[in-house]
């Protein structure tokens, strides 16, 4: 997007600062609106998919009333939530209660920004993209705590405390396992990382196949990511059977919808990070090397990227509808006694690998043996 702005602005005379400012802001707003629209559409679709997947797994059919195959179910849900009475508990801390869902939603939306959807489609290619994602997702815990406290409900407070403890703890294995992958392309920029994974039939140079340590890192990351977005078996902050609905017990209507959408937004984001860092992002498998027109390549890349992300989201849903929930201390145990040490040793292993083999992956080594 920066390039786009620069390209437009370069054609203008530099003596019109106000116009330049307005145009810049206009482009920003428009692109933000596009992302918002896409993310809302995705979130609607994800809620539908969740229910459909749950139905399939539970030997049911799932939503099939609204629109063909129930595809418009999310519209009906959205309308329902919009029309619902917006209740603010009398004893709630009004301000905190009101702003918390907006922050949660904004944050989950902000995480869509540095993602690289294809070679040229990205909103902002940050140099610190991966770090930005981690940072922005840690803000969620703050907003959740805000809502939990603001509700002035004990179940909410339990949920908020649990959520914060969980998110803060699970950031450690997430960062450690991501590091194991990042040290190979040696960049925090999403685009650079994906660009590094080109070649090797478009699949064997994915970082997940780079060396055994990245393979482990991928699984550690994925497990920790499920915990980070509070999904079963790690959904203790909103464990329905224990603490009613956790931090959003008191929320109704659109405010609840914001929390709800944020959860699905977070799912997309963590899956997108996994796809970017480990699964080659938008690298097209097998036919990536074939020459094709730029537009086709871009479309294919976006399609491939979304396919990877949706597959990971499907796995998350599949796990959710299979496993029972962990207890809060067991969750911490999993984090501190299993994931963190594994990620740590894994990181050391990956560093040694990179140091000794000069960031050549398994595929490079095998390819070298064969070409020799």
């Amino acid at each position: 997007m920066t390039e786009l702005i620069n390209r437009i602005l370069s054609g203008m005379s530099p003596t019109m600062p106000l116009t330049r400012l307005l145009i810049t802001i206009l482009i920003m707003v428009v692109s933000a609106a596009i992302v918002l629209a896409v993310s809302l559409l995705y979130e609607g679709f994800a809620t539908y998919a969740e229910r459909k997947v749950a139905g399939d797994i539970q030997a049911r059919i799932g939503p099939n009333r609204v629109g063909p195959y129930g595809l418009l179910q999310f519209v009906a849900d959205g309308v329902k939530l919009l029309l619902k009475e917006d209740i603010i508990p009398f004893y709630a801390d009004r301000w905190l209660f009101i702003i918390a869902p907006y922050i949660v939603f904004t944050v989950s939306f902000a995480a869509f920004v540095p993602l690289s959807y294809s070679d040229h489609v990205s909103i902002a290619n940050l140099n610190v993209g991966v770090l930005y994602m981690i940072a922005i997702s840690s803000v969620v815990s703050m907003a959740i705590l805000m809502g939990a406290w603001g509700s002035n409900n004990k179940w909410s407070l339990f949920g908020g405390m649990r959520a914060v403890a969980q998110i803060v703890s699970y950031e450690i294995p997430i960062v450690l396992s991501l590091l194991a992958a990042i040290i190979i392309p040696a960049s925090l920029s999403m685009r650079d990382i994906i660009a590094y994974q080109s070649g090797g039939l478009g699949i064997f140079r994915w970082l997940v196949f780079n060396n055994p340590f990245t393979l482990i890192a991928f699984f550690v990351y994925f497990i920790a990511a499920i915990a980070e977005v509070n999904r079963t078996p790690f959904d203790i902050p909103e464990a329905e059977s224990e603490i009613v609905a956790g931090y959003h017990t008191e929320y109704t209507g659109m405010r609840f919808a914001f929390f709800f959408m944020a959860e699905y937004g977070d799912m997309f984001v963590v899956s997108a990070i996994a796809a970017t860092l480990f699964l080659g992002g938008w690298q097209i498998p097998f036919i990536g090397g074939i020459p094709m027109p730029v537009w086709l390549r871009e479309v294919l890349q976006v399609g491939v990227f979304f396919t990877k992300v949706f597959l990971l989201i499907y796995v998350m849903m599949w796990i959710r509808w299979t496993l029972p929930r962990l207890r809060v201390d067991q969750l911490m145990e999993l984090c501190w006694k299993y994931l963190t040490p594994i990620a740590l040793f894994n990181l050391i292993g990956a560093s040694v690998w990179v140091l000794l083999l000069h960031d050549r992956g398994v595929y490079d080594i095998i390819a070298r043996v064969f070409t020799r």
Partner: protein, 193 residues
């Protein structure tokens, strides 16, 4: 946001500055201590925004990660665990006012004298250059000692915290059947099967 236009930067600077100053004032002036803690959230966020405007994207993001994701959470937790949060009377003594004024004056004087001798260098727009690599290199070369010292300090703090918690558990265990929570301390919780 890295846009090649000083005006845009200026606009965003003022937005962030207003956010920082406004929320900082809220932190100080709000009588509800929990709300002040949450107002700090916006202050820290604004600071991160300023960093990013200055082209220090790594520092900005780290600010969010550490201050909002870590320090602020701790502060809020600390505030929430204060008992009778709502009835904490912040302005209870005249002494506080005097002390506060004095310390504020001292702090501002210090900041003033720290800022004054600096010959400000206008570097202009210099974003987009990756800062992570240089920072890492500097940390591992010129500033290795402070870096390691800081980590040692953190480790010490962690050990201390762990020790404090352990001793509390021990006290609970020693209390035996004194009260409902002491009874069967953490039975079935910390135990492994």
């Amino acid at each position: 946001m890295s846009v090649n236009s000083y005006t845009v930067q200026a606009v965003f600077f003022y937005i962030f500055a207003a956010l920082i100053v406004g929320s900082a004032l809220l932190v100080v002036l709000l009588r509800n201590i929990v709300r002040s803690a949450f107002a700090l959230f916006f202050t820290l966020f604004g600071v991160a925004g300023i960093y990013i405007l200055l082209g220090a994207d790594f520092v900005g993001v780290t600010q969010v990660l550490i201050y909002i994701g870590g320090v602020l959470i701790l502060i809020v937790f600390g505030v929430m665990l204060t008992h009778n949060v709502y009835s904490v009377d912040i302005f209870n003594k005249l002494g506080t006012l005097v002390m506060g004024t004095v310390s504020a004056i001292v702090t501002f004087t210090m900041i003033y004298y720290a800022i004054k001798p600096v010959s400000w260098l206008y570097i202009g727009y210099k974003a987009n250059a990756p800062t992570t690599g240089p920072i890492g290199r500097e940390l591992m070369t010129s500033y290795l000692l402070p870096f390691e010292l800081a980590s040692v300090l953190l480790v010490l703090a962690m050990i201390g915290a762990a020790y404090l918690i352990r001793s509390e558990v021990k006290v609970k265990k020693a209390a035996g059947n004194g009260g409902p929570p002491g009874e069967r301390p953490a039975d079935g919780i910390r135990k492994e099967n």
